[in-house]
Amino acid sequence: MADSNGGAKVPQTFGEKLSFSLPVILVTLVLAVGIAFAIVTIMDGKTRQALTDQIDEEKSLRTKEVGELKKTNADLQTEVTKVSKSNDDLGKANGKLKDELGKVGESLSKVANENQKYVESQVQVDKVQNQDISSNKDDINKVDRRVTYIEEKIKKIDEIAKDVEGLKGDTATLKQEYTVLRGDLDTTKKKADITDKDLTDLSERARMFQMRVLAARAREAADAARSTDLKNLLDRLGDVEGGK
């Protein structure tokens, strides 16, 4: 067919085909490589620029941070210096305190000894004082008891003396006895030192007085009964009822 068109001969074999297309392929390859190189070069340039910028920025930041760190470090060093100084001062103060504490310990020890001695002496004083107080209390109680005893006696005597007033018979002796006894009871009550003898004597006299009044009112009641003086008898019986 090519022969009919009278033109160039058409390669028939692979070798011919390869030889025929090789310049094209080479040119294409060169172009492709050139284009690829150009693209890569461009891309690289841009990337390089970006990285450079980023590195610069990073570098700037680092520099700034390092500056700050340096400053902080310097401050810290200053602080450490101060702390060290303070520590030294504290060490010195501690030494002084130790010395002081030693002295105080000695003083305390002395005080403890003194205190122990004081406590022992105080126990002794308390013991003596307690004995005195107990003794005084006993005395006071004894006096109180005796005054109370006399007061009760006075009350009883006054009570029974009222019955004497109601008696119709001769009561002059009983009345006189009451007056004297009452006076003696009052006098004894006011005494600072009431003795056992005082109390025994008064008790006996009060007892005798009571017995005389009882006998007198019983005798009068019996007389009233025998003479059927019922009003008088009932009054006398009322004396008894008054105490029940």
Binding site: E159, S203, R207, Q210, A222, L237, V240, G242
Partner: protein, 196 residues
């Protein structure tokens, strides 16, 4: 016997018969009469009071050596108990330590002899008529229950004194004397050594 004497004897018999039909006093019992059914009230007894014939009975307590009588409403006090003293039973118990049993007052039925010549009813046969007198109760304001009354012969016991105890004066004196040694002021201290 002439007619005049016969007449006198007859009149005497009539008087005797009439006298037997009237109420009359008992001999030896003072102002007191036991009524018989059909009798006519005599002029001297108008205003008297008749009650069933009952008297207080005497009781002797040998342990306490005390004799006493418990009076009941409308008892007529016999002359043997004249001048005795009746005591409120509570007070008597305190004085003697004898507990007296109380009994309810019986029906206080009395019949007043109001008009002369009125016949004594059958149901009043055997009753005792007396001038109406009652014992006078004496009391003391010092304590409750302190009451006594002197009894006289033929007193009629009032209802308020039902259950009271009557004793003679010696017994009363003995009980009183003993009782007076108790109560207020009787708590005698022991001789010596009391204050220790």
């Amino acid at each position: 016997m002439n007619l005049k004497n016969l007449y006198s004897v007859a009149m005497l018999a009539v008087l005797v018969a009439l006298a037997g039909c009237n109420t009359e006093r008992e001999e030896g019992q003072g102002e007191r009469a036991v009524l018989k059914a059909g009798q006519q009230v005599s002029a001297a007894m108008v205003g008297w009071v008749a009650v069933p014939n009952t008297q207080p009975s005497l009781i002797a307590d040998k342990d306490k050596a005390v004799s006493y009588a418990v009076v009941r409403t409308n008892n007529v006090i016999p002359s043997s108990m004249s001048s005795w003293v009746a005591i409120n039973p509570t007070l008597f118990s305190k004085m003697s330590d004898i507990k007296v049993e109380t009994q309810d007052s019986p029906d206080a039925e009395r019949w007043v002899l109001k008009s002369e010549g009125k016949s004594v009813p059958k149901d009043k046969h055997g009753w005792v008529a007396v001038p109406f007198t009652q014992p006078q109760i004496e009391s003391s304001g010092k304590a409750k229950g302190l009451e006594m009354a002197t009894l006289y012969a033929n007193n009629v016991v009032p209802k308020e004194m039902n259950g009271w105890v009557a004793v003679d004066r010696d017994t009363l004196a003995k009980l009183s004397e003993k009782y007076m040694m108790t109560g207020k002021g009787a708590d005698l201290p022991k001789a010596r050594a009391e204050n220790k």
